[in-house]
Symmetry: C2
């Protein structure tokens, strides 16, 4: 007889890059001049970060990081949330730590002493609301298997990993350890593919993980097509349905599609005045997981994802700017 | 025969505290719990800054400082602008330096090495859009007469000083030096009273400076009443008219009153959707000075002030979020 797992103490444990966002509104020409792919995330070194920052207009700083954003939104929605990620012992690291704690997220990872500074992401927001990101990983490269808090992973209903975590060299091993610990404790593992360029950088590792270690996959159209090297969304959907127990595919204003075995649930987007798409996918995953770990229907999970995404795109920056704590209780199914 | 001064190379040179703002939206109860006077600025030490920051919700960081905000807005309006103020050689200091340079403001003051960190202002914004500020002065206390760049002061049509600069101990001497240099070069000196509590802290020094060294005074109702210890705005106006060559008195949604000798110009406020009053007075002064140094009428100066203030209150934070470069040319008188 197999022992049944203890009730989880956390609904969601995020593991990801701990990043401070530097957000500035730019003209389209800025992207061209600096050879940026609109909507994508590029990795940059310290020298490039200095050069791009110098070229950037006056900016606002706020805590970011894809999985960390998801954690902050999920906590705002009432879920019990933890986060693992690496900041440095510097001013921006203290900003990150303050904000995630203020969002109600448990964040036990100690700061890196004497290494690279806290990671930052330079986010150029164009007039169409699209964000284009350039990330200096800084202290995130010091996140490895030793930073995976096994007790916390074992205590979380869902451990949620961001695809961007595949970029720091030691983090793939951390991911595999977290997935093994979660499954050994009878928990679920979720992954977001993060970015189609990130999928291109790590396709084989992603394919192996998705097929063998992931229970819930979040991806947008470009990412799922990149994963399976398809140009056609329908073909990628067919592949995902066979490959993953639960696939959650977002399509911007066309809403989202949720696949579980033979079941398909289509969810409409919630209309919003688009200011900045930063954090839209992160917020969708937060809404989905907050409803999922509360035992709600797939339709309700998608609906809460859409509500959270609509809040995220209606202002500059990725963290919530209005209370979301009544949204889960207000869901109808 | 007196030599006529050279044409100025700068329209406005601001001298003030170089501060990074930490802005968070709070419930009214937050102000009560932490014994804050709504709408005022209080000085706090490093330990109190730590304690209040820990209590603050998730925040956004952006460059601030009263005169620095005025400089950024004046530059956005097309004026040639410089700023003198002290940051530390740390991450927040680099954020401040980046943003003021990106705003087009010349900022030559070197960073403080090995002293206090860059100043920060914790700004609690309540639902009514009012901001309540707690400032840790940090590196600003190292701003003194040696930091007054005499060539720059001599080259600026107007040297603009913030009243908050009276709080750091060495800055009053810097102010007097700047005023003397400006007047010796045939330039004008402007002062903003900043805050009625700041006036209460330094009333005698302010009274002496306003009567003997200031050409243009900016104040709101509470500040001008505090300066002359009057409870009645009309009585304070009568006193100001006798005391100051040019007094510019702002009254929030009731607009502004400009006094020059026997002349009185009343200016209406520009309607705006109020989100956050942070920087409204700073932006008004910027609009006024950008038009004033362009040789426009007092009515046009007040109008441009009102336009800039309306932009400032329509979003979170004190720095402009939309282009303002066409506003001066669009003025009708």
């Amino acid at each position: 007889m197999t022992a049944r797992p203890e009730p989880p103490h956390l609904d969601v444990l995020g593991i990801g890059n701990a990043i401070v966002d530097v957000v500035a509104q730019v003209p389209e020409a800025f992207l061209t001049r600096h050879a940026m792919h609109k909507g994508a995330m590029a990795l940059i070194d310290a020298a490039t970060a200095e050069r791009l920052y110098a070229a950037l207009p006056a900016a606002q700083e706020s805590s970011g990081g894809s999985a960390a954003n998801t954690c902050a939104v999920a906590a705002a929605l009432g879920a019990r949330v933890g986060f693992l990620g690496r900041v440095a012992d510097d001013q921006l690291g203290r900003v990150f730590r303050h904000d995630i704690a203020a969002a109600g997220v448990h964040f036990p990872t100690p700061a890196l002493i004497g290494g690279a500074p806290t990671a930052r992401c330079l986010i150029a927001v164009t007039e169409d609301g699209q964000r284009t990101m350039n990330t200096f990983l800084g202290a995130c490269v010091a996140f490895g298997p030793d930073e995976v808090d096994e007790a916390l992973v074992g205590a979380a209903a869902v451990t949620y990993l961001e695809g961007y975590l595949f970029d720091p060299p030691a983090a793939q091993a951390a991911f595999r350890r977290a997935a093994a610990v979660a499954h050994a404790a009878g928990r679920e593992v979720a992954l977001t593919l993060s970015d189609s360029f990130c999928v291109d950088r790590h396709r084989d590792a992603f394919r192996d993980l998705v097929a063998n270690h992931v229970d819930i996959l979040f991806a947008n159209e470009a990412e799922i097509c990149a994963l399976y090297e398809r140009t056609d969304f329908a073909a990628a959907v067919a592949h995902a349905r066979l490959d993953i127990p639960l696939a959650v595919l977002t399509r911007s204003e066309a809403g989202s599609v949720i696949l579980r075995g033979a079941t398909t649930v289509e969810v409409a987007a919630v209309p919003a005045h688009l200011v900045d798409t930063t954090g839209a996918g992160d917020a969708y995953a937060a809404g989905f997981l907050a409803a999922y770990t509360a035992g709600r229907s797939l339709a309700a999970c998608g609906r809460l994802g859409s509500i959270a995404a609509a809040e995220a795109i209606s202002h500059l920056g990725a963290r919530p700017q209005r209370p979301l704590d009544g949204e889960l209780a207000a869901l109808v199914n």
